[in-house]
C-alpha cells in the first residue's frame, strides 16, 4: 500500500484557518462544493490537473523503457503463441428447467410485491427476479412512496458471500474477543433447544430472555404472545440503536400513558417546522413525508404557491439542506426555541426564555407563519430530542388544531409495555445478577451498538447460554455459543406493517442461499410446534392471516377487479392470494386514534455545554450494512465523504482548534472516549456541536469490506442520552490520516483562473461572480418565490445561453447558430421514432442518494474502494453535486442546492467528436450510446466532457477486492480475467440485461437503454401480433410507439420526491415534453456551450420568509 499524504494538507491556511482573503480572490465564487474550492486552494487546482493522483512519479517511472518494451514484447509473443484471438470462446452450457414453472419465461424478469422490515417498519417494494435471482428493488407502485438507499442496497446484501453460512457453536476463547467455533446444524440446535425450552418452562421462563429488534410483524407478535403464554416469567426486550424511544415515550407523556404514532400528511402543510429532525430522510416514514413535501414544492408551477420549511438543527441534514429557513444551534438549545415559539402561539410556556438575536429572529418568523397557517402546519421533532420535547409538540399541535388535517394519531405497534431502554437496562441488571440462563438475540448487534453503561463490562459473559440469529457472525454472534444464520427478506415468508399500519406480506424469491431461517421460523421451533415438521414461514404467516383480523375490511376492489386475480377462488384462499399478489392488504391502515393532550408537558431547559455531540446514522445505518460496498462508497449526501464516518465539526470550531479536514482528535464524553477519529469541517453545522456518525468502525466480524472502515463512536453513548450529550473534551490535533470525499471531484466549474483569460471568463460565466447581481451562472439557477412571481426572467437569465460563444459549433438551420429541436427540418434531430428526454427538478431534489444506489444496482456499476475514490475514480454514473452558498464562518448563512448529474445526452456531444474509434455515437432517438466492446480506453471523451459524467474502468473493479489497492499497478499486466475472477455468489447480483464492463473501458449513463429496448420490443410485438390477427389495417390510431409512463428509469423509480421525469419528447402529451416545452423553470446545464443536453434542469425556487 502506498503511504499517501492527506490530500488537502498544506491548504491549512487557505481553506480553513484563514479565509479573510476570500473576498479578494479572483474567483470568489458564489457557489462552491467544498471548502477547498471556496478558498480556491491551489492544491485543489493541482489535483484537478493530476491524472495519476497519489502515485509517486518516481514509481511510475520505475518501469524503465527497457522493462516496458520487454513486457510489451513478451505479451505480444504470448498472444502469438497461444493464438488467443484465434479460437472460439469458452463453451457455454444451457440448463433448462426440468419442469418450468407456469408464467416463468427464461430471460424475462418477473416482479414480486414484497416488503423488508427495518426498525419495526415494513418497507413496501417490488423485487425484480431474473431467472430466479432477486436483482433489483423497485418502489411499490401502489404504495404511493418510493424506496430508500438501504432498500436499494438489499440485493447486494443478499449475495454477500461473507454472510453466516452455517449454524455455528462457539466455545472457549479464541483470544481475539471471540469464541472458538465449530460447525453444527439446525437439527442439533433444535434438539438442544427443545431440551432447554422444557428446562426453562419449569419455572415459567424466569431465566429466559429474548432481546429482539422492534418488529411490527403480526406473525412475530403472535408467536411472541404464544411464547409469553408458555413462559409467563420470561423477559422480552426490544432494542434498536436508532430507535424511536423518545418519540414513543413523548406520546405517552402527552397522552396519559397511551403510546401513539403520529401520521403526517405533509402534502396539506403550508408550514413545516422540524426541530432537530431529519424528517425527509431519516424518519420511519421519510419517503412518504418527502413525497408529500414535494407536492407542496411543485405547486410553484401550478399555483405559484409553495410550502415553507423551517428547520432548527445542529447537523446539516438533508432536511436542513432543503429548508427555506434554517437555524443551526446546539441540540440543547432546541427546547429553548421551541418554548419561545410555543409561548408566542399561546401554549403554556416558560416566560423569559433567553434567545440569541439570530434565534429570536428565526423564532419570531416561525411563530408568525404558524399562526397564519394554523391547522395546515406540521411540527416535528427528531428522535434525538428528549421525550418532553415530543410531548410539548403534541400540545402545540393541539393548539394549532392540526389533528385531522396534517396529523392524525394511530396505534404504535412497536411500543412495548415499558420504555424500551428501561427494559433493556432491567435486563442488563438481571444478566449481571446471574438471573438469566438463556438469552436469545433475534437480529441486531448489541455487543457493538448497545449504550456503554449496559450490556458491557462482562455482563454479557455472565449468561451461560447465548443464542444469536443474524445475517452475519457479527460482534455479538462471535460472543455467543450458538450463531444461527438468518434468512434475508428475499429468502423467507414474513409480514409486517407499513408506517401507516397497512399490513404487508413478504414473499420469498429465492431459497435461502446459506441455510438461513427467519425469526418466525425460529420462534415456532422454540415453541415446539409439533404440527410442523420443519417450521415453515409460509404456514406461520398464513395461520396469522387466517385466524386474525388482518383481512377484515380489506378493500381489494380498489386495486383488483372482481373478475381479476384469483377470481376462481373464494373465501380465505382468494383473499390470501390477492394479498400475496399485491404484497399488502388494501384498507388495512391504522384507524385514527383520538387522544387529547390534556396536560401540557413542558420541556426541561438545560444549560448547554461548550460542545455537544449528536448521534446520527452513518452511511451503513447503525452498522448493519457495514459489509455493503455500495453504501460505504455512496458519497454522504451532505459531506460527500466515502468509506468513513469522520466527526463532523463546524467550520469556526475547526478554525479555533486549528484543525483541518482529516486531522485526528480525541473526543471524550460521560460514556467514554474515542481516539484517533478524523474530523471534517461541515459548512452550515452549528457552532459548539460535533456530529458522531454511528455504525462504522467495526472489527473483523463485520466482514472483509466493513472491517476497520471509519471509527466506532458508540463508546461515547450512554443510555438516557441516546440522542445527544455534552462533550467533556475535544482535543487538538493528535495525528492525521486521509479522507476520500467526492466534493472535490468532477468539478464542472473547476478551471484554474490563473490559466488564461478564457478560463477566468468561463468560470465567472458559469459559477456566477460574487457581488455581481443579476449575473447568474448556467449551472445552478435559483431564486426566491417572491422574485419568481415578480419576474421569472430575472432568475432564469438568458433562456438559451449565449450561443454566440458556443464551444461546439453544431449544425444549425438558423443563421445565428441557434437550434429548434422540434423543427421538422432541424438537423440531427435524433427523434426517430422517439426522442428521449429527462428533466430534474432542483426545487424538489433532496440529494438523498437513492438514485445513485438504484443506478448502481441497475447498471452493474462496480465499487472501487477508498483509495480509488480518493483518486477521483469512483464509478457512479449518477452523482449529486452539492453546491453551497454563503460564508462558511456563519453557519446560519449557508444555503444548499443539490444537483444530480448523470450523462445529459448532449445532441451535440463533445465526447463523440473526439473518440478515435466511434465507440460513443448517437442513436436515432437521442441517446448518446456507449459501445463498450468498441472502446479502446483513450479517455479522450472523458477529458472533453464538460459535465464530467464519464467513468473509466482503471482496473477490473468487479474482480478486485474493494479494500485492496495494487502495490504497483503498473506492473500488474495482464490483469486477472474478470470473468473468472468475480466471485460466483457476488456475480449473482448482476443485471443480465447490462454488459459487465472490463478494465480499460469507458462507461456512463445511457438513460437505462436496456429498459427502453425492452419496452419498445414489447410494444412493437404487441402491435404486430394484434395486427396479424385482423390483417394489417394500418390504423393510424394504433399505438406503435411506447406510451408515456411505460418506461421508468432506475433513478426515476427510486426518487422519493418524483423530481426526475423521463419520456418521449416527440409526444406532446408526455410528462417530460410538457415540462421541457412549457415549464418556465427549465434550463440546460452549460447551455452556453451549445451541447444541447437532453436532460434539462428546473430551477430551484426557495420560499423564505419575506
Amino acid at each position: 500500500m502506498l503511504d499517501l499524504p492527506p490530500l488537502i494538507e498544506s491548504n491549512k491556511n487557505e481553506a480553513i484557518a484563514d479565509v479573510s482573503t476570500i473576498e479578494d480572490h479572483i474567483t470568489g465564487q458564489a457557489y462552491w462544493r467544498s471548502l477547498e474550492e471556496q478558498a480556491n486552494a491551489p492544491e485543489l487546482l493541482d489535483q484537478l490537473g493530476d491524472e495519476f493522483q497519489g502515485y509517486d512519479p518516481e514509481e511510475i517511472q520505475a518501469v524503465s523503457r527497457r522493462t516496458f518494451l520487454k513486457l510489451a514484447g513478451a505479451s505480444l509473443a504470448l498472444a502469438g503463441l497461444t493464438l488467443s484471438g484465434c479460437r472460439r470462446w469458452p463453451k457455454e452450457e444451457l440448463a433448462p428447467f426440468a419442469a418450468r414453472p407456469e408464467d416463468l419465461i427464461p430471460g424475462v424478469p418477473n416482479y414480486f410485491a414484497s416488503m423488508a422490515e427495518r426498525g419495526g417498519i415494513a418497507h413496501p417494494m417490488l423485487v425484480a427476479s431474473f431467472d430466479g435471482r432477486p436483482i433489483k428493488v423497485e418502489g411499490h407502485p401502489m404504495a404511493g412512496f418510493a424506496t430508500d438507499v438501504y432498500d436499494q442496497a438489499l440485493t447486494l446484501q443478499q449475495y454477500d458471500p461473507e454472510r453466516l453460512r452455517d449454524v455455528l457453536i462457539g466455545e472457549g476463547d479464541d483470544g481475539q474477543g471471540g469464541k472458538n467455533i465449530s460447525r453444527s446444524s439446525w437439527t442439533t440446535f433444535e434438539s438442544w433447544m427443545t431440551k432447554k425450552a422444557d428446562e426453562l418452562k419449569a419455572d415459567g421462563g424466569a431465566k429466559f430472555a429474548v432481546l429482539a429488534e422492534p418488529t411490527s410483524s403480526p406473525t412475530a407478535l403472535r408467536l411472541k404472545a404464544k411464547l409469553k403464554a408458555a413462559m409467563p416469567q420470561m423477559s422480552w426486550v426490544t432494542y434498536e440503536p436508532l430507535g424511536q424511544d423518545s418519540v414513543i415515550e413523548g406520546s405517552k407523556l402527552a397522552f396519559e400513558g397511551q403510546a401513539v404514532r403520529t401520521q403526517y400528511d405533509v402534502s396539506k402543510a403550508k408550514v413545516i417546522a422540524c426541530f432537530d429532525s431529519d424528517f425527509l430522510c431519516n424518519h420511519p416514514s421519510a419517503t412518504r413525508n418527502a413525497k408529500g413535501w414535494a407536492v407542496g414544492r411543485k405547486s410553484v408551477d401550478t399555483e405559484k404557491k409553495m410550502n415553507r420549511m423551517y428547520v432548527v438543527e445542529s447537523a446539516m441534514t438533508i432536511t436542513g439542506a432543503a429548508a427555506d429557513e434554517r437555524l443551526p444551534i446546539q441540540p440543547s438549545r432546541v427546547a429553548y426555541v421551541l418554548t419561545y415559539v410555543a409561548g408566542k402561539l399561546g401554549v403554556p410556556a416558560k416566560a423569559d426564555v433567553k434567545l440569541t438575536e439570530v434565534e429570536k429572529a428565526f423564532a419570531d418568523k416561525l411563530a408568525k407563519d404558524l399562526i397564519a397557517s394554523g391547522s395546515n402546519s406540521v411540527i416535528v421533532a427528531g428522535a434525538s430530542q428528549p421525550a418532553d420535547v415530543h410531548a410539548y409538540i403534541h400540545a402545540i399541535n393541539k393548539k394549532l388544531g392540526t389533528t385531522g388535517v396534517t396529523t392524525t394519531y394511530s396505534d404504535e405497534p412497536t411500543a412495548d409495555e415499558t420504555w424500551q431502554l428501561q427494559a433493556f437496562a432491567d435486563l442488563s441488571k438481571k444478566m449481571e445478577a446471574g438471573e438469566i440462563d438463556t438469552l436469545l438475540i433475534l437480529g441486531g448487534n448489541p455487543a457493538f451498538d448497545a449504550p456503554r453503561d449496559m450490556f458491557f463490562g462482562g455482563i454479557f459473559e455472565k449468561v451461560p447460554h447465548k443464542i444469536k440469529l443474524g445475517l452475519y457472525r457479527d460482534e455479538t454472534a462471535a460472543k455467543c455459543d450458538w450463531a444461527l444464520p438468518a434468512a434475508t427478506s428475499f429468502e423467507c415468508w414474513g409480514d409486517g406493517r407499513w408506517y401507516d399500519g397497512t399490513v404487508a406480506v413478504q414473499q420469498p424469491l429465492i431459497l435461502p442461499l446459506f441455510n438461513g431461517r427467519s425469526t418466525i421460523e425460529l420462534l415456532a421451533s422454540i415453541l415446539g410446534d409439533k404440527s410442523l415438521q420443519q417450521p415453515s414461514g409460509y404456514d406461520l404467516v398464513r395461520e396469522t392471516f387466517k385466524s386474525g383480523e388482518l383481512l377484515k375490511g380489506a378493500t381489494f376492489a380498489e386495486h383488483l377487479t372482481e373478475a381479476g386475480y384469483a377470481a376462481e377462488l373464494s373465501g380465505f384462499e382468494k383473499d390470501w392470494r390477492r394479498t400475496v399478489h399485491l404484497g399488502f392488504v388494501p384498507g388495512s391502515a391504522f384507524k385514527p386514534v383520538f387522544v387529547d393532550a390534556k396536560n401540557t408537558v413542558q420541556p426541561k431547559l438545560k444549560e448547554s455545554a461548550e460542545f455537544e455531540v449528536v448521534f446520527v446514522p452513518s452511511a451503513v445505518y447503525d452498522g448493519r450494512f457495514a459489509n455493503s460496498p455500495w453504501l460505504q462508497e455512496a458519497p454522504d449526501p451532505i459531506t460527500k465523504v466515502t468509506w468513513d464516518n469522520p466527526l463532523l465539526m463546524s467550520v469556526p470550531d475547526m478554525r479555533d482548534k486549528g484543525l483541518i479536514n482529516a486531522d485526528q482528535v480525541t473526543i471524550k464524553t460521560g460514556g467514554g472516549e474515542v481516539q484517533e477519529i478524523m474530523v471534517f469541517g461541515q459548512p452550515g453545522q452549528a457552532k459548539g456541536t460535533v456530529i458522531a456518525q454511528l455504525g462504522n468502525g467495526r472489527n473483523q466480524q463485520a466482514g472483509s469490506v466493513g472491517q476497520g472502515v471509519g471509527t466506532d463512536v458508540y463508546p461515547l453513548r450512554v443510555s438516557g442520552q441516546m440522542g445527544f450529550m455534552p462533550v467533556q473534551e475535544v482535543s487538538g490535533k493528535t495525528g492525521s490520516d486521509y479522507l476520500a470525499y467526492t466534493s472535490v471531484h468532477h468539478l464542472v466549474d473547476g478551471l484554474s483562473p490563473e490559466v488564461d483569460e478564457t478560463s477566468k471568463w468561463a468560470l465567472e460565466k458559469r459559477a456566477g461572480k460574487k457581488g455581481k447581481s443579476g449575473k447568474k451562472g448556467n449551472i445552478i439557477k435559483e431564486g426566491k418565490l417572491k422574485d419568481w412571481k415578480k419576474d421569472p426572467g430575472k432568475i432564469m437569465g438568458h433562456a438559451h445561453g449565449d450561443l454566440s460563444l458556443q464551444l461546439y459549433q453544431g449544425p444549425s438551420i438558423y443563421e445565428d447558430g441557434s437550434y429548434d429541436r422540434k423543427h421538422p427540418d432541424g438537423p440531427e434531430a435524433f427523434n426517430h421514432p422517439h426522442a428521449w428526454g429527462m428533466t430534474i427538478d432542483l426545487t424538489s431534489c433532496l440529494g438523498c442518494n437513492s438514485c445513485v444506489i438504484a443506478c448502481q444496482a441497475e447498471n452493474n456499476i462496480p465499487s472501487v474502494g477508498k483509495k480509488q475514490v480518493w483518486r477521483s475514480r469512483e464509478m457512479h454514473w449518477q452523482r449529486t453535486d452539492t453546491y453551497y452558498k454563503g460564508d462558511p464562518d456563519k453557519p446560519e448563512d449557508i444555503q444548499v442546492v443539490h444537483q444530480p448529474v448523470s450523462c445529459v445526452q448532449c445532441e451535440n456531444a463533445p465526447c463523440e467528436q473526439v473518440c478515435p474509434v466511434a465507440a460513443t455515437v448517437h442513436d436515432t432517438e437521442g441517446l448518446n450510446t456507449m459501445v463498450y466492446n468498441r472502446c479502446i480506453g483513450t479517455r479522450y471523451c472523458s477529458n472533453n466532457c464538460p459535465y464530467k459524467v464519464r467513468r473509466f474502468n482503471y482496473f477490473d473493479y468487479h474482480a478486485k477486492s474493494v479494500r485492496k489497492d495494487f502495490a504497483n499497478p503498473w506492473l500488474n499486466i495482464p490483469d486477472t480475467q474478470q470473468g473468472k475472477a468475480i466471485d460466483q455468489i457476488k456475480r449473482m447480483v448482476f443485471n443480465p440485461d447490462v454488459t459487465v464492463r472490463m478494465r480499460g473501458v469507458m462507461e456512463k449513463c445511457t438513460y437505462c437503454t436496456q429498459r427502453i429496448q425492452r419496452a419498445k420490443i414489447q410494444q412493437k410485438n404487441a402491435y404486430v401480433q394484434s395486427q396479424n390477427e385482423g390483417g394489417f389495417t394500418h390504423d393510424p390510431t394504433e399505438q406503435k410507439t411506447v406510451p408515456d409512463g411505460t418506461i421508468v428509469v432506475a433513478c426515476q423509480d427510486a426518487c422519493p420526491t418524483d423530481c426526475i421525469s423521463f419520456g418521449d419528447l416527440n409526444d406532446p402529451e408526455s410528462k417530460v415534453a410538457k415540462i421541457q416545452y412549457k415549464n418556465k423553470r427549465v434550463y440546460g446545464m452549460l447551455d452556453e456551450l451549445n451541447t444541447r443536453p437532453r436532460t434539462k434542469y428546473l430551477a430551484k425556487i426557495r420560499n423564505p420568509h419575506p
Binding site: 472460439r88 433448462p96 419465461i105 427464461p106 440485461d993 420490443i1017 395486427q1027
Partner: protein, 266 residues
C-alpha cells in the same frame, strides 16, 4: 577497473550466413502471417460448422423434418422473449415418457422409444429435477443482445439464421450423428446485412417456421406475377417485392435506427 578487449561480443564469421536466412524468414512471414491471421481469426472460420456433442443426440431431422413438428412446439417462448428457451425436460417426456419409474415398476403409459439408451439423461433429469446441460451452439458475445421475439414478430424466419435445422442430425434410427451445427457466422457484419436491407429477408409471419419457403409460393407474389409486377421465376425480385411490402406492414424501423448501437448493445 581494468578493461580487457574480448571477442565475446563480436559475431563469429559463420553468422554471416544467417543474414539471408533472416531476410527470407521476414519476407516469408510477411506473406504467411497476414493471411493466417485474417483467415484464421475470421468469424467464418471460427464459428461456422461448430457442432458440439450434446448430452442427448436429439435429432431435429427426425422431429422437424420427418415428423413435421413446428419449431414453437418446443421453443415456445420465442415469440414472447428475447431468449428462445430450450424446452424443459417435461416437454420431452410428454412424448417420451419413461417405460418404468425409478424403482423399475413398469409405467402404464409409456411413451415413444421407451427402451432407448439415448433417452436415459432425459428420464434422469425428469426424475431428479436436475437440468440437462445442453451445449450452446449459437453463442453470440455477451455484449450483444439478440432478441428472438423482436425478429420472429417482424418476419425474420428461423431458417435465415439457423439454416436447415430440419436436416440436421440423424434421420430415422441413426442416432450417432450429432445435432445442430452453426450455419451462419453470426458476426456483426452479417447481422448488419439484414439490418441495412431487411426487405431481402422478410417473409409473412405465418411462414416464420417454414424451412423451405420461397417467395414464389406466396399468393400475393403469384398475383403480382400475374399482374406483371414481378418476373416469373425471379426469386430474388419476388423477395424484394414482397419484403418491401412487409417492411411497411410490419412497421420495420428505418435502417438508420436499426444500425444504431443501442439496438443491440447495452
Amino acid at each position: 577497473m581494468s578493461y580487457e578487449q574480448t571477442d565475446q561480443f563480436v559475431f563469429p564469421k559463420w553468422a554471416n550466413y544467417l543474414l539471408p536466412l533472416l531476410v527470407l524468414s521476414v519476407l516469408g512471414g510477411a506473406a504467411v502471417v497476414p493471411p493466417l491471421v485474417i483467415y484464421g481469426g475470421s468469424a467464418e472460420t471460427l464459428n461456422v460448422g461448430y457442432q458440439p456433442d450434446q448430452p442427448v443426440p436429439y435429432s431435429h431431422a427426425t422431429h422437424v423434418g420427418k415428423l413435421g413438428m413446428d419449431c414453437r412446439t418446443c421453443h415456445n417462448t420465442v415469440e414472447d422473449a428475447g431468449f428462445a428457451a430450450i424446452p424443459p425436460t417435461q416437454t420431452c417426456v410428454s412424448c417420451h415418457a419413461p417405460g418404468t419409474d425409478p424403482q423399475g415398476v413398469p409405467s402404464n403409459m409409456p411413451g415413444a422409444h421407451q427402451n432407448s439408451i439415448n433417452l436415459k439423461p432425459v428420464w434422469e433429469s425428469y426424475y431428479t429435477g436436475d437440468p440437462i446441460d445442453w451445449i450452446k451452439v449459437h453463442d453470440i458475445a455477451d455484449y450483444a443482445y439478440f432478441n428472438h421475439s423482436a425478429h420472429v414478430n417482424k418476419g425474420v424466419g428461423c431458417v435465415s439464421c439457423h439454416g436447415r435445422v430440419d436436416k440436421m442430425g440423424g434421420a430415422g434410427t441413426d442416432d450417432s450423428i450429432a445435432g445442430v451445427y452453426q450455419v451462419q457466422n453470426l458476426s456483426m457484419g452479417w447481422c448488419l446485412e439484414c439490418h441495412r436491407e431487411p426487405e431481402k429477408y422478410l417473409r409473412p409471419l405465418r411462414e416464420i417456421t417454414n424451412m423451405d419457403w420461397s417467395p414464389l409460393d406466396n399468393d400475393r407474389v403469384k398475383a403480382a406475377i400475374a399482374a406483371g409486377e414481378v418476373d416469373e421465376g425471379d426469386e430474388q425480385g419476388a423477395q424484394i417485392w414482397l419484403g418491401t411490402k412487409l417492411k411497411e406492414e410490419y412497421e420495420i424501423n428505418n435502417p438508420a435506427y436499426m444500425q444504431s448501437c443501442s439496438t443491440c448493445h447495452r
